[in-house]
Symmetry: C2
C-alpha cells in the first residue's frame, strides 16, 4: 500500500492543483469559500488566491443549526439530518460560486465541517480518559453533490496523539508568511485577539490568544450607539484615554499569564466589563478609546516579548479597520513594518477558507497538517479523510 500511495502523492505534487477551501464558523453566519492554485517546485511553495466569497446560510437553517448544536436540544435524528444538510447547503454555495466566477476546474475541496463539539481537555467515560472533537457534515455527501473529491475530518488525528486539534492555521501562516530574515507576526483581531509568531528559518511557530480583540468594543458600541461595531474607530477617536479604566484593565489575570495561553469570550465577558465600569465615572467614547488602546497593548506586549519590536506584522480581522487600535499598536512597535495579508495575495476575509484549501492539498500530498509545537501532540500526523465521487 505504501508504495502505491507514495507514487500517487508524488504525482499529486507534479503540477499546480486548484483547491477550494470551505470554512463555516460557529456563529452560523455564512459559508466562506476560497479557491487557490497551489504548487511546490524545488521546495518552494507557490500559493495563489484565485477567488473567494462568503455565502449566507439560508435563514431558516441558521436557526435550525443553532438549535440542534445547543446541548439540550439534540436528537440523533437531527444530528443525522444535519450531517447531510450541511454539505447539501455547502454544495449549493459551491455550485453557485463556481458559476459566478471565472475559475479553472476545481480538483479538490478542503471541507472543515461544522464544529459542534471540541473537547481538548480529557474527560472520563467509564475507565477511559479521552479528548474528542466533532465536525458534522459528511465529506462523502459533499463529494457526491459537487462531483469533486473532498478532504474532511482535519482535527481528529492530532487529538489521537494527545494534541488539542487546534489551532491548525499556524502551519498555513508558517508556509505562506514566514521570512528568511525577519521575525513575522500575524495578528488576528476578532472577538479575541491572537498572534502567530514565525521565526526566520524555524519550522516551529508560536501561536496563542493574547487578550480581547473587539468583543468589548462591539458590546459598548452596540449598547451606547446601537451600532454593530465602531467603524474605523470613529467613535474611539473622539474619546480620550482614561487612566482609571486602564488600571482596572491591567488587573485582569489573563494579561500577565505566560504563553502559550488560550481564552474564549467567557473570560472577557460582558459581566466582567460591566463590573469594572461600575466603579468608574467615564464617557462611552472614553471607554471605546481606552478599550482600543488596551487591545493594542495586549497584542504589542506579546510581540515585544518575542521580537524586540523589529519584525514584520500582518494584521487581519475586524480590528484591522479600527484606526485607534492600529495607531496604538504602531506606536508601541515603532521599529515594526506593518502590512496586510492582501500584500501577499491572501484576502484576510478568506484566510481560514484558504487555510483549509492548503491543508487539504497537504493531506493529498501526504504532508502533516498540524504542528506538535502548537497543538501539543506527540508527533506530526497525516490527517484528513478523503472521499472520491468518481
Amino acid at each position: 500500500m505504501k508504495d502505491i500511495l507514495q507514487e500517487f502523492r508524488k504525482r499529486w505534487l507534479e503540477k499546480p492543483r486548484i483547491v477550494l477551501g470551505i470554512m463555516t464558523g460557529t456563529s452560523f453566519d455564512g459559508i466562506d469559500l476560497a479557491v487557490a492554485s497551489i504548487s511546490k517546485t524545488n521546495n518552494t511553495l507557490l500559493f495563489k488566491t484565485l477567488a473567494h466569497s462568503i455565502v449566507e446560510y439560508p435563514k431558516e437553517l441558521q436557526k435550525y443549526f443553532s438549535q440542534i448544536t445547543s446541548q439540550n436540544h439534540t436528537s440523533v435524528s437531527d444530528i443525522s439530518s444535519f450531517n447531510f444538510l450541511h454539505p447539501h447547503c455547502v454544495a449549493e454555495a459551491i455550485n453557485s460560486f463556481i458559476r459566478s466566477e471565472e475559475i479553472p476546474q476545481i480538483e479538490l475541496i478542503g471541507y472543515h465541517g461544522q464544529t459542534i463539539w471540541h473537547q481538548p481537555t480529557s474527560i472520563s467515560i467509564g475507565n477511559y480518559t479521552m479528548t474528542s472533537t466533532f465536525q458534522l457534515g459528511s465529506g462523502s455527501v459533499l463529494a457526491q453533490k459537487t462531483n469533486i473529491p473532498v478532504v474532511s475530518d482535519f482535527r481528529s488525528a492530532d487529538m489521537v496523539f494527545g494534541g488539542q486539534g487546534a489551532p491548525l492555521v499556524p502551519i498555513f501562516d508558517r508556509d505562506i508568511f514566514a521570512d528568511t530574515t525577519n521575525i513575522v507576526v500575524l495578528v488576528n483581531i476578532g472577538g479575541i485577539a491572537n498572534i502567530s509568531v514565525l521565526f526566520p528559518n524555524s519550522h516551529k511557530p508560536i501561536a496563542y490568544d493574547v487578550g480581547p480583540g473587539n468583543v468589548w468594543i462591539d458590546y459598548i458600541t452596540k449598547k451606547f450607539y446601537g451600532l454593530a461595531f465602531d467603524e474605523g474607530g470613529k467613535i474611539a477617536k473622539t474619546g480620550k484615554f482614561s487612566d482609571e479604566l486602564w488600571e482596572q484593565l491591567l488587573t485582569i489575570d489573563f494579561i500577565e499569564k505566560p504563553y502559550p495561553k488560550s481564552t474564549g469570550r467567557e473570560e472577557f465577558s460582558v459581566q466582567l466589563l460591566v463590573s469594572i465600569l461600575d466603579d468608574i465615572t467615564i464617557s462611552s467614547e472614553d471607554i471605546l478609546h481606552t478599550l482600543a488602546k488596551f487591545t493594542a497593548y495586549c497584542i504589542a506586549k506579546e510581540i515585544l516579548f518575542h521580537s524586540n519590536s523589529e519584525c514584520k506584522v500582518y494584521v487581519s480581522g475586524g480590528g484591522l479597520h479600527n484606526d485607534v487600535i492600529q495607531s496604538y499598536i504602531q506606536s508601541y512597535l515603532p521599529k515594526a513594518t506593518f502590512t496586510t495579508t492582501e500584500t501577499v495575495g491572501i484576502a484576510s476575509d478568506a484566510k481560514e477558507a484558504l487555510c483549509f484549501a492548503y491543508l487539504a492539498w497537504r493531506s493529498m500530498a501526504g504532508l502533516p497538517i498540524s504542528l506538535p509545537s502548537i497543538t501539543g501532540a506527540k508527533k506530526e500526523t497525516i490527517s484528513g479523510s478523503i472521499s472520491f465521487p468518481f
Copy 2:
C-alpha cells in the same frame, strides 16, 4: 486528479490485498472482525477468509452506547466522545486479534461504524426534503490507532442519489456466491429472515426480508424454558404442528405482500404473537414447532416464486442450527441443493464483517459498492471515505 487516481487503483488491483472488515450491530453485543485475502485476476475474484473473531464490547460501554443512541438522551458532547471511543474500542479489539492470530500484514480496514440513525424515507427540514444515515466512529481515529488505512462512511453516497443506503450485502453475495448455471439463494435467518436471489449471468440480484426468523421462537423459548434460543430445534422437535396457530399466522399482511419488501422487529412484535396465542389453546412445544414451520414457509414461498425450486441454497444465521426449520425448508424445496457459506470459505458468523472488508477493497479499487437495483439509487456510486495514517 482522475489520471493519478486511476493509476493508483490499477496498482491496488495488481496483487492480493489483505483486508480486515469490522461490523458492530445495533445490539452492542460485540465487534465482529474478519480478515480476507482479496484479488482479481482476469476478471475472476479470489476471496479467501483468513481469520475471524467476535470481541465483546467492554460491559460498561455497552450500557453507555445504548444510552446515548436512544433519541431522548443525546448531547453533542456524548456524540463527540462516542465518535472517538467507538474506534478506540475497535482498535483495541483489532490489535489483540492481530496478536492472537497468524495473519499477514493488514493493508486496509473496512469500518462500517455504529449506525445511530438511518432515515431512508424523506423528511422535511424547512424547505428541504431529505433522507440521511449516520454511522458514528471516526475513520481517522481508527486509522491512527491501528496505523492501517481505513475506509468508512459506506452508505451516504448511495443515499445522495436517492437510494436507501441499504442493504449493501447483496453486492458481496453476488460476487462471492453467484453461479453461471444455477439460481443461487442466500437465506439469512436472524431475528427476521431475508433472502438474496442471484440469477445466472445477471448483475442484478434481488434481496429482501421475507418474514420472521427467530424473533418469536426466541421469545417463546425464553418465556417458557428460560433459554436464550431453542438449540438445534430440540424443543420444537418434541412438539407437533398446530393447524389453529397456522391459520392465524397466515393472516399476517406482510406474508402476502409482493417483493421488494422490508420489515423490522416492530412488525413481528411480541404483542402481535401474544394476541394471536390469546385465542388458542396450545402447548409451548407445539408453538415452537409451528413457528419453526412458519419461518421455513415464509422463506420457501419466496424462493419458489423466483426459482421453481431448482436452485442452490446457502443458509446462514442462527436459524441454520434449528433442525425443524431446516427440515421444513428442505421438504418445501425438494429439488434444491442445500449448503452453507462455509463450503465457499465464508464463515457465516463473519459474513457481514467480510462483506465490509470486500466493500473497502472495492472502494480502494474505485468500484461501486451498492447496487441501484437493490437500493433504489439513480446510479452506481463509488463510496466510502479513506483515512490514511501514514
